[in-house]
Amino acid sequence: MRAALRTAVVFASAIVPSLLAAQSWRSFDAARQVTDTAPVTVKVAYSAGRVILRSDRDGDLFDAHLRYDADRFEPQYSYSASARRLELGVRSLSRSTRWSSDAGSELTLALATAVPFDLSLDVGAAESDLDLSGLRLRSLVLSTGASDTRMHFDTPNPIAAASVRIDAGAANVEALHLANARAERISVNVGVGRVLLDFTGEWTTNTAVDLSTALGAVEFVVPANIGVRIETSSALQSVDFPGLTKRDGAWTSDNYDTAPFRITITSSGAFGRLEFRRTGR
């Protein structure tokens, strides 16, 4: 029995690596210097690997770096100077029948701090670190499938963002220091993932959050000096709102009427879990 089992396992173990072929890693860099400060639309579509976004400090409008397996992907890059539009990502070639890992695939994009951007990020199953600190964001759309995404505004957005939208399918998303986005309206759609919305940062305006959840969990972190009002429309949602009391059909903080700034969260959806937490700043 053991001999036969050993033979089978050894045979299988020896053969399996033949499927794991070597990859043809290729890098692609594209950049352009800043010539003016007219707004630019940026669309990033990236399916798997690692995505890094940050501000550029070398005087470039954008500085993009892609690393990809040339057997399986090709870069998708275009910049229209007239339309002020940058599109970046990779496209699957769908011609390889080999198994290979996406580990090592990477997209790094640095954007100018002097130019306003309308930023749209479509991140599939990638691991993302989106450092939006210092960027001039007019609008932001983050769509993600099953990624592990960390998005943070460590410094205030120099301009007010007209809108911020986060669509998280089955992703784990951390949006930190959202107050620094300076957005009056934030829209969040959660499928079955988990989203942390941290509203710390420098408050300059009241904020309205439209939240839609299917089965996911959403946690809000709001500074203690901000007035909070949460309206939930589903009786099937699980809520945990310590420190808030029900007033006029909505969960409201005691300081809602006197706070310098307020956040109003309107939640809709069938199931899911909503958690609320206060923080010192």
Binding site: F11, V16, S27, A31, R32, Q33, D71, E74, R91
Partner: protein, 356 residues
């Protein structure tokens, strides 16, 4: 190095030469995406060796070099470098794009009004495999799949040997019935799933459950098919090795050997297809046969898995359940209890209890 440069030159020729040049279609596609939007000079325009454009020079491009380019003056037009860097120090101005293939663009205070691109890493054309490389890949793929199936089979044998035995028994004893059930299951799976989804869509809660139903159905179908195929493969192996098929559970060694033989049998079918890669017609014929035989095995196995309720019970019409695996013998006598009473008490005898 020379080969790399030649490959890149071919690529550049291809991208410059339009669709008329059919000799380098693979290289055409290779860097096409990376060079999209640029007008690449023809191969003849590339000069060999490093080049320096002095601070006093004003040059009209494009500049195309196999080597490194250092621009200290002014260039109007694009700059291309293969296997070299493009260096733009302070004071230099390039009114155009700069592209370094197999190198990098080193902006050291100069001005580039266009784009700067650099392409590095593996630059050899990633053409579709042909000839012996394709043959090698197909053989590797076939052996790899066989190994994966075998690994799964060994896992099932170790952790669910009885289940595999039961399904195998049904394959062996109710071949025709299993086949019919397998065909019906194959034909009915998709409509059944659609009907179930429609049924769920009638309610809001059901609507939310549809994605889970689809995922669960796919997983369940995959499990049933895999279990069925492994059982069919093992019965096939039993036939080849002459192992008794009615009591497979009694000898684990024979079970592993028969599974190995069965999987190898199907692997050999597909290996034949792989080996015949250089002969497309013969490969197509053999592929058809291999597909038919494998499909029959999968279908019979699926039917047997369904008939045996996933290997949990022997269906009506089959002889008996397989002999149990090695382990403690079934109790041959019973101690009376307050609940069951003293229905029967059979003391072990020498004939029923080993070692006594």
């Amino acid at each position: 190095m020379l080969r790399r440069v030649l490959a890149l030159m071919l690529c550049l020729i291809g991208s410059a030469a339009s669709a008329q040049d059919r000799d380098v279609p693979t290289t055409l596609t290779d860097l096409r995406a990376e060079l999209l939007g640029l007008t690449v000079p023809p191969a003849a325009a590339f000069t060999r060796g490093d080049r320096i454009i002095a601070a006093t020079e004003q040059v009209t491009g494009p500049i195309a070099v196999v080597g490194t380019v250092r621009v200290e003056g002014q260039v109007t037009g694009d700059v291309f470098a293969i296997d070299g860097d493009i260096i733009v120090p302070a004071g230099a101005v390039i009114n155009g794009n700069v592209v370094a293939i197999g190198g990098s663009v080193r902006l050291q205070g100069g001005t580039i009004t266009g784009e700067r691109r650099s392409i590095g890493g593996t630059l050899a054309p990633t053409a579709p495999l042909t000839g012996s490389a394709l043959l090698q890949q197909n053989v590797s793929l076939t052996l790899g799949w066989a190994a994966v199936v075998l690994l799964i089979g060994v896992g099932v044998l170790v952790f669910g040997g009885r289940t595999l035995d039961t399904v195998g028994q049904v394959v062996d004893e109710q071949f025709g019935r299993s086949f019919v059930v397998g065909v019906l299951a194959t034909l009915g799976a998709a409509p059944a799933l659609v009907l179930a989804c429609i049924g769920l869509a009638l309610t809001i809660i059901g609507l939310l459950l549809i994605p889970f139903l689809i995922v669960a159905s796919v997983l369940a179908a995959t499990g049933l098919v895999a279990l069925g195929f492994l059982a069919a493969a093992r019965i096939t192996g039993c036939s080849f090795l002459g192992v008794r098929r009615d009591t497979p559970g009694t000898d684990r060694s024979a079970a592993v050997k028969s599974l190995l033989a069965g999987v190898l049998f199907y692997a050999v079918l597909w290996l034949a297809v792989a080996v015949l890669t250089p002969f497309p017609t013969a490969a197509a014929i053999v592929r058809l046969a291999a597909f038919g035989i494998t499909w029959a095995a999968v279908t019979v196995g699926l039917g047997a898995t369904i008939l045996s309720r996933g290997g949990t019970q022997v269906p009506w019409g089959a002889r008996t359940s397989p002999t149990p695996l090695a382990g403690p013998p079934a109790a041959t006598w019973q101690t009376p209890t307050p609940i069951s009473g003293v229905a029967a008490v059979r003391r072990p005898t020498a004939g029923t209890r080993s070692g006594s």
